[in-house]
Every structure is written in C-alpha cells, then in structure tokens.
C-alpha cells in the first residue's frame, strides 16, 4: 500500500507508459476500496450521479465493454453506448467530426476502443471530456494491465521482485505492451515467450527477457500470463495449425510444473481452450482468470472516479 498521498491530476487515461509508479499505486489502492462496493447488497454508490459517460467502441468487445458499463452503473453515472455497426461511424464520418459531435453533447467521460493506435490520444486533445483508452490497436490497453496488476497484487501481496511470464502472441497484443510498462515500473521482471513468428522485432528493447520456448519462459515464474492466439488475425498464418501450436506452446498441467509451486495462471480472455491453454489448467486451482474479470470492474470504477475529479483546462 502506498502511504504518501498523491493526487490524480490527469484528465485522461491513455496508456501506462506515461504514468508514474505513484500514480499506478494510487489507481490500484483506489480499486481496492471499490472492490468492497461490489460485495455490498446494494452494489451502487451515488458518486458519479449526473455525470455522462459515452462508450465508443469501434471494435467488437464483450468483456471490456460490459465491464466499463457495469463500473459506470455502479457509480450511478448515465451511460450511452455507440458501436460501429449501424452508426454514423460506419457511414464515412471522419473521426474528427465524430469527436466534435460528441463534444457537442457535453459528456464528462468518453471510453474508446479503436483499431488504430493513437486514436484515443487524438480524441483526448479535441475533447474537454476525460478520455479512457479501452484498447487502441496493438498499442495500449491500460485498464487491462491495471486489473492484471491488481489481481497479481491480491495473490502475491506485491509486484516488485516477481517474475512474470507473458506467453503467446506478443506481436498482436496490446495487453502485453501495457503490462510490460506497468510491471517494469513496479519492479517486476517480465519474460515474454512464444514462437519467433509471433515475436515483434527488437522486443527486448521494451526491457524484457525473451524466451523462444514455452519451457524457458515458464521456469521459475511467479505469474504465468497466457495471451490469446488471435486466430482471426492469423491470415498470414504464423504457425501451421492450432493443433501444432498447442503441442509446442500450449500451457498444460505438466509444463506448468516448471513455474514456481505457488504460481498463478492468468489470461485476459477470450480463451481458446486447447490452443494456448489446456482446459484443465484454465479451470484448475492455480487459475485466477475469472477473478481478473471481477477485479476489472473495480479497477474501471477507480479510473472513472479519479478522472471525473479532474476538470479540463479551458480551451484556448
């Protein structure tokens, strides 16, 4: 727990890269308090009454969007959802026009997911409202990294000094980038593991160890984070077949023994059972995959709460 009181001063949450360890600590500590709200008989507090939140999803998402929506409702905010299908977003409107139209409705916060990196940043510059990045291309997904860190801290009591193995499709994952930033800042060691064809060039520049076999990545890990093989993005096929992938890189009970005895298994979802992870591991005693989902709501409540306390500077 951080004892020094720091104040949140950012209008937006765009990525983990720009946050200080103290800010990350504040977010996690605040999320800790909000997790208690989720255990109450009435899971709702009046904190954001009268605030309007727009959820703007240019890419399909079930879990993240539902998680944000529940977090918003538990804080008594009014929320409106826009998604690509059937909206003006599909009818050729430019992003800037969309932003100006949103601004005209005077929301307090905008949650955005977009396939192109940097879109939330562009929106943040245009809007008076606070902007929360819910995933921009393969760039960042800050609330996912925060909920992962929150889950790790719940089980291990700390982040510093831990060895975290992140395994799978490193190249296409925005989750991994945010996680690397966060874990490095908080003093954990990150090992990324996976097939060479799924590893971005110069990945070690991000400050991680690299392992090209599952076994090397797992050895001595406190936390094993499996990433989804994005079957829909494998048009160019980075590996021969799902079956072959599982044979080489699938997390099985036998292989998990290489990690520490008390290692926890995580997955940001959605999972491909029998591709990157065996069913009995996903459902096993070491798996905290569903806890991640629960904690996601608390973390997003914390983000909404902290951002809504910051008023945007007057437009010049």
């Amino acid at each position: 727990m951080t004892t020094e009181t720091i104040r949140w001063t950012r209008k937006d949450l765009l990525g983990i890269a720009e946050l200080s360890p103290a800010e990350i600590g504040l977010l996690l500590d605040t999320a800790e308090s909000f997790s208690e709200v989720g255990e109450r008989p009435i899971k709702k507090v009046p904190t954001l009454r009268g605030k309007t939140v727009i959820n703007l999803f240019f890419e399909a998402s079930t879990r993240t969007r539902a998680s944000f929506e529940i977090a918003e409702k538990r804080l008594s905010a009014d929320n409106v959802n826009f998604s690509t299908s059937g909206s003006a977003l599909e009818k050729g409107e430019s992003l800037i026009d969309t932003a100006l139209n949103l601004q005209a409705m005077a929301p307090d916060l905008v949650v955005i997911r977009h396939g192109a990196p940097g879109v939330p940043h562009m929106l943040a510059r245009r809007l008076q409202a606070g902007v929360i990045n819910a995933g921009d291309g393969a760039h960042e997904h800050p609330t996912q990294a925060l909920l992962d860190a929150f889950t790790i801290r719940r089980h291990k009591g700390r982040l510093a000094g831990l060895r975290v193995a992140i395994i799978g499709d490193i190249e296409h994952s925005r989750v991994v980038r945010s996680n690397i930033h966060l874990l490095n800042k908080m003093g954990a060691t990150v090992v990324v593991g996976g097939a060479r064809t799924l590893m971005p060039a110069a990945v070690e520049k991000l400050g991680v160890e690299v392992a090209y076999t599952l076994e090397d990545a797992l050895r001595g890990a406190d936390v094993v984070m499996m990433l989804r093989i994005q079957l829909e993005r494998q048009g160019k096929m980075s590996f021969p077949s799902s079956k072959e992938y599982f044979r080489l890189f699938g997390l099985t009970r036998e292989r998990l023994k290489l990690a520490k005895d008390d290692a926890i298994v995580m997955h940001p979802g959605p999972m491909n059972r029998g591709v990157e992870i065996a069913s009995d591991v996903a459902d096993g005693a070491d798996s905290v995959i569903l806890e991640q989902v629960t904690h996601g709501v608390s973390v997003r409540m914390a983000v909404l709460y902290l951002l809504s306390g910051v008023t945007a500077p007057e437009e010049s």
């Binding site: 009181t5 104040r7 949140w8 001063t9 504040l26 500590d29 605040t30 800790e32 308090s33 909000f34 208690e36 709200v37 109450r40 008989p41 009435i42 709702k44 507090v45 009046p46 904190t47 804080l75 709460y305 902290l306 809504s308 306390g309 910051v310």
Partner: protein
C-alpha cells in the same frame, strides 16, 4: 494540508478526553437497554478511534463486546465536483448486517452536518437499521442541515475561521483537542 493554521488553545488534554469518552460510553449504555443489538460505526478517519474507545469503555463497564464498523463516506459526498481532485477512498467495512441493528454513528467533530448526511445515505444502502443514533466528541455548531447528536462529548462555540483539531494516540500519536485559527494570508 492545513493552510496557514496557528494553534489558539488546547481545549481538552488526554486525561480530559478519556474522562469525557467514559461519560459518553455511560450515556450510550443508558440509552440502549439491550446492548446485543448495538453496532458502533466510526466515520473515517477520526470517528474510528472514537468508536473504538467508546466500545472498550462499554466492555469495561458492562463486560459486553460491542462490534465496531468503519464507514468511508467519500463516495457519498455532495461536494465531489467542487473540489480540485478526488479524495482517496479507503473503504467501508461493517462487521455485522445492519438489518435490525441499532447503529451508533461516531465522529470526532459535528459541524455543518453534511458528513452525517452522507453517512446516513451510505448506511441505508446496506439495509434497514432499527435505529440510527449519533455520538460526537465535539459539537462546534454552525449546522447547515437539520441534524443533531444524541451523545455529545463537549459543546464548543466557534467562529467560521476557527478549526477544531481532534487527534488520537492511535492515529496521530497524541491525544488532545485544539482550536486552530485560520490566519489571513499576508
């Protein structure tokens, strides 16, 4: 945290505070014939050590351990949009269901009444207590809402530019109540 505050005088020292809290505990026992329904709830931050001390005095007098809960009213404040950055949320914990309980809210200072209003709103979201009562160490007047305490340690008439500072051994290392004066900036 405090802008230009200078100590004016000490109104209670540790001994006087202990005596007053003992008397308050006595009043709580008198008011509640059945202590088994009683739940003390301290409002964060300085209401919590007050609740704990009242509980331990009750235990000493009656041999009955009264449960103590903690209420963090941050999420129920009515001034969130008018303060610069969000205050840190530290969490609520109630050791028993409040359904049917007699809840004694405890806070160090009663001033405008807005904290108590927020505490009542939050409490009621946890269920329907049989009754809610209020105990405060210092009542300094200047209410902005129709709220009164049932058990008062000491009434202290104050002016608007004075601040009452209550400190406890457990939270601050010293047990006393002081009046501080807000100095106009030079």
């Amino acid at each position: 945290m405090h802008e230009n505050l200078t100590p004016k005088n000490t109104i209670l020292d540790a001994k006087q505070m202990a005596r007053i809290i003992r008397r308050m505990a006595g009043e709580v026992v008198e008011m509640n014939r059945d202590l088994s329904d009683l739940l003390l709830v301290g409002i964060r931050t300085r209401g919590v050590p007050l609740a704990e001390q009242i509980a331990s005095e009750i235990e000493r007098m009656e041999g009955h351990k009264v449960p103590v809960g903690v209420l963090d009213i941050t999420l129920y404040r009515d001034d969130l949009s008018t303060i610069a950055a969000q205050p840190q949320v530290k969490g609520t914990s109630l050791p028993r269901p409040i359904e049917g309980a007699t809840v004694l809210l405890c806070d160090d200072v009663l001033y405008t009444g807005r904290t108590v209003r927020a505490a009542l709103d939050e409490l009621i979201d946890f269920g329907r207590p049989r009754a809610v009562k209020l105990a405060v160490l210092i009542d300094r007047g200047h209410r902005e809402l129709p709220i009164q305490a049932d058990v008062v340690g000491k009434k202290v008439p104050t002016s608007g530019d004075e601040v009452i500072e209550v400190t406890f051994q457990s939270t601050d290392g010293i047990e006393q109540v002081r009046i501080l004066e807000r100095k106009p900036p030079k």
